[in-house]
C-alpha cells in the first residue's frame, strides 16, 4: 500500500502532538464534524472556538478516543488513540458529570490514578500523595473531605482539572473548563494552564468567551462543523474569520480588537 498522505515519520519530525486527519463524525446521518484536518504542535495552548452545536465537544471527544469517527484518523504522538494510553487526559464538561454522586472531592481527584493500576488494585500511598499535590495545585486542599455536590461551579471545574493533573499525561483535552466560573477559579485555572505550557505539555481547550482569548492562548482554531481556520491568535482573530464562524457583525470584532490591544499594552 502506498502511504504518502500520512507517513508516521513525517509527523514525528514536525513534533506534532495531535494529528486529526479528515475526521468526520456524524450523529443520525447529520455531520457534527465534517472533514476536519488539524495538527496541534507540542507544547501549545490551543483554544477551539465556535458557536453552540458547532462540534467542539465532538472534536475533543474524538481526540480523546471516546467517540469513534465515521471517517478519518486521529493520531496521538503518531499512534492511534486506542494505543495512546496514558498520553492523554480528558476533562469532561461540567454539566456532563453527575454531581449528586456520593464521593468526596479527594476520591474524585484520586480517580486520575486508576489508569496506572491493574484491574483489582486499589490506589497506594504514592498515588494519594500525587492526588494531594494536585489538589493543592488548584487550591482545594481545605475541601478535600467535602462531598462533591457541595462544591461551587468554579470549584467543580478545578476539581475536574485536578483529576486530569493526577493522570500526568502529555496532552490535556479540556471541554469548557472556564464556563460560568468565578474570577478566582478562572485565575487558578489559567495559572495551571500556563504551568502546563511551561512543562511542554500540549493543552487543547474548547472555549466560549472569545473576548478573553488573547490573554491565555497561543493558538486558536475556529470550528463550525468544518474547520474554518487555525493558527496564531493574532492571525486568526480577523473580522472575516469571525463572521464566517459566528455570523456576527463587524462592530463586535472591533471591540475585540480594542480589547486585544489593551491587553497587549497591559502585558508590556
Amino acid at each position: 500500500m502506498i502511504r504518502t498522505y500520512s507517513s508516521q515519520e513525517h509527523i514525528e519530525q514536525l513534533n506534532i502532538a495531535v494529528k486529526v486527519e479528515n475526521v468526520t463524525v456524524e450523529y443520525k446521518g447529520k455531520p457534527n464534524l465534517f472533514n476536519v484536518n488539524m495538527e496541534v504542535p507540542c507544547g501549545v495552548l490551543l483554544a477551539v472556538l465556535g458557536p453552540n452545536n458547532s462540534g467542539k465537544t465532538t472534536l475533543l471527544k474524538t481526540m480523546a478516543g471516546i467517540e469513534k469517527p465515521t471517517a478519518g484518523n486521529v493520531y496521538i504522538y503518531s499512534k492511534p488513540t486506542h494505543a495512546a494510553k496514558n498520553d492523554l487526559a480528558y476533562v469532561p464538561e461540567r454539566n456532563m458529570v453527575n454531581w449528586d454522586f456520593p464521593i468526596s472531592l479527594f476520591d474524585l481527584v484520586l480517580m486520575g490514578s486508576y489508569n496506572r493500576l491493574r484491574r483489582v488494585e486499589h490506589p497506594k500511598k504514592k498515588d494519594k500523595v500525587i492526588a494531594w499535590e494536585a489538589l493543592e495545585r488548584v487550591g482545594l486542599e481545605k475541601l478535600a473531605k467535602k462531598s462533591i455536590c457541595d462544591l461551587s461551579r468554579g470549584e467543580k471545574h478545578r476539581a475536574l482539572i485536578a483529576r486530569a493533573l493526577v493522570q500526568d499525561a502529555r496532552i490535556y483535552v479540556m471541554d469548557d473548563p472556564m464556563v460560568a466560573a468565578d474570577e478566582e477559579s478562572i485565575n487558578i485555572i489559567v495559572e495551571v494552564l500556563q504551568e502546563l505550557r511551561a512543562k511542554k505539555k500540549t493543552v487543547i481547550v474548547s472555549h466560549h468567551e472569545f473576548v478573553t482569548i488573547p490573554r491565555y492562548f497561543d493558538m486558536v482554531a475556529l470550528l463550525n462543523v468544518k474547520l474554518l481556520g487555525m493558527g496564531k491568535t493574532e492571525d486568526i482573530l480577523t473580522e472575516e474569520n469571525f463572521e464566517k464562524t459566528y455570523g456576527m457583525s463587524a462592530g463586535m470584532i472591533k471591540n475585540i480588537r480594542l480589547y486585544m490591544d489593551e491587553s497587549h499594552d497591559r502585558n508590556k
Binding site: 498522505y5 468526520t24 443520525k28 446521518g29 455531520p31 465534517f34 472533514n35 471517517a71 484518523n73
Partner: protein, 374 residues
C-alpha cells in the same frame, strides 16, 4: 337488556378509553411515575373501602382509591422536598409500601369474609364479574353498575380535558411560557393526578390495578409514533385502545383466557410494533433513513477532499490513498468513487481523477446547508 358479550365489551372499552385520556397527557408531560404510583397506591384506599362494602363499584371505593392515589403523589413530593432525591426512587418506596398495606388489609379485613370473591380480582381484575352487579330502577334492569360508574368518570375526564385543554397544551409545549403567564404547574399536575386516580379506581375492577398502567400508558405511547399534535394524540390513543379492546376480547372470550390479560398483551404487541415499524418514527425506518443519509455523507466526504485538498489524484492509486486517510476499506472507497464517476460528479482526465463542476456545485451547496449561520 343486551347480550352479555356486548355489555362486557362495552364496559372494558369504556374503561380503556377512560384510562387512555389522562395517559395521553401523562406521556407528553414526562410525568411518567404518576401512572405507576397512582395505580399501586390506589390499592390501599380500595382495600380500606372494601372493609365497609363488599361491592367493587361502590362510590366509596372510587373516593377512597382516588384519595390514596393523590396521597401517594403528595407523599412523594413531601419526601422529595426533604431529601432532594429523584422522585422516581421515592415513588417506588411510597407506592410499594401503600400496595403492601393495601394487600395486608385486603387479606385480613376486607369483604366481611362473607363475599365469594377471590382476592386476586382486585389486582388482576375480572371483566366478567362486572356483569353481575346490575342497576335496577323500578325493577327494570338497565345495565351493570360498573358501566355507569365508568361512564361517570369518563365524562368527568372529558369535561376536565375540554375545560383545561388550553392549559394542558401550553404546559406540554413550552414550560417557560407557561411560567411567564403565571400558570401554576402544580394545578396541572393535580388535575392529571386526579384524572389518573379516578380512572384507576374505577377501572381496576375490569383490568386489575397492575394492568391499568398498560391501559393508561400503552395507547398513548403507541399513538405518539403516529402523530405530533396533542389533540390528535388523544384521539389516536382512544382509537388504539378501543381497537385493542375489541381484538383482545374476541381472542380471549372463545378461548376462556383472561380478557384483560389478552387486551393488555395486544396493547403491548401494538406498542412494540409501532416502536419498531411506525411509518415515520419507527426504529427500522429511522435506521434506513440513517443508512441513506450516511451514504450521501460518504459521497460528500470524498467530493470535499477532492475539491479542497491537494492530494495525489492519479487514478491508479487514489482509492488506496483515500482509504488510508479516511480509515475505510479500499472496497468501500472504490465503490463510492465508481458511483460518483458514473454520476458524472468525478471524471477521469489523463489518468487523474478530477471533480467536475457539477460535483463542485453539489458539495458547496451541502457545505452551505451545514453551517448554521449562512
Amino acid at each position: 337488556m343486551f347480550s352479555m358479550e356486548f355489555e362486557l365489551v362495552l364496559v372494558i372499552t369504556l374503561s380503556a378509553v377512560t384510562c387512555s385520556i389522562p395517559g395521553a397527557f401523562l406521556v407528553m408531560r414526562k410525568n411518567y411515575y404518576a401512572a405507576d404510583t397512582s395505580t399501586r397506591s390506589a390499592m390501599f384506599g380500595i382495600s380500606i373501602a372494601l372493609i365497609f362494602s363488599a361491592f367493587l363499584s361502590s362510590p366509596l371505593v372510587i373516593i377512597f382509591g382516588s384519595l390514596t392515589a393523590i396521597l401517594g403523589m403528595f407523599l412523594i413530593k413531601k419526601i422529595k422536598g426533604i431529601t432532594h432525591f429523584r422522585s422516581k426512587g421515592i415513588s417506588i418506596i411510597v407506592s410499594s409500601t401503600l400496595l403492601c398495606l393495601g394487600i395486608l388489609i385486603a387479606t385480613n379485613f376486607s369483604f366481611n369474609k362473607s363475599s365469594e370473591f377471590d382476592l386476586s380480582i382486585i389486582y388482576l381484575g375480572e371483566t366478567a364479574f362486572t356483569y353481575f352487579n346490575r342497576v335496577r330502577i323500578a325493577g327494570v334492569d338497565i345495565g351493570s353498575y360498573a358501566f355507569y360508574s365508568i361512564l361517570l368518570v369518563m365524562i368527568i375526564n372529558i369535561v376536565i380535558v375540554t375545560v383545561f385543554y388550553k392549559e394542558f397544551k401550553i404546559d406540554g409545549v413550552d414550560k417557560n411560557y407557561a411560567a411567564s403567564i403565571q400558570m401554576k404547574e402544580e394545578t396541572i399536575d393535580l388535575l392529571l393526578v386526579v384524572m389518573t386516580a379516578l380512572s384507576v379506581s374505577v377501572s381496576f375492577q375490569t383490568a386489575g390495578i397492575f394492568m391499568t398502567t398498560a391501559f393508561i400508558l400503552g395507547p398513548a405511547a403507541a399513538a405518539l409514533f403516529y402523530t405530533k399534535r396533542l389533540s390528535t394524540l388523544a384521539f389516536v390513543s382512544v382509537f388504539i385502545s378501543s381497537i385493542a379492546c375489541l381484538v383482545g376480547f374476541s381472542i380471549a372470550w372463545p378461548n376462556y383466557v383472561s380478557i384483560s390479560g389478552s387486551i393488555v398483551s395486544f396493547i403491548g404487541i401494538l406498542f412494540i410494533l409501532s416502536v419498531l415499524c411506525a411509518p415515520e418514527e419507527g426504529i427500522i425506518k429511522k435506521y434506513f433513513d440513517y443508512l441513506a443519509e450516511q451514504k450521501k455523507l460518504d459521497e460528500y466526504i470524498i467530493l470535499d477532499i477532492l475539491n479542497t485538498q491537494s492530494i495525489d489524484n492519479s487514478s491508479s492509486s487514489i482509492n488506496e490513498i483515500l482509504a488510508v486517510s479516511l480509515n475505510w476499506k479500499v472496497l468501500r472507497v472504490s465503490y463510492i468513487v465508481n458511483k460518483l464517476k458514473a454520476e458524472k460528479k468525478l471524471e477521469d482526465i489523463n489518468g487523474k481523477v478530477i471533480i467536475t463542476d457539477e460535483g463542485k456545485n453539489i458539495v458547496e451547496h451541502f457545505m452551505k446547508t451545514q453551517n448554521c449561520f449562512h
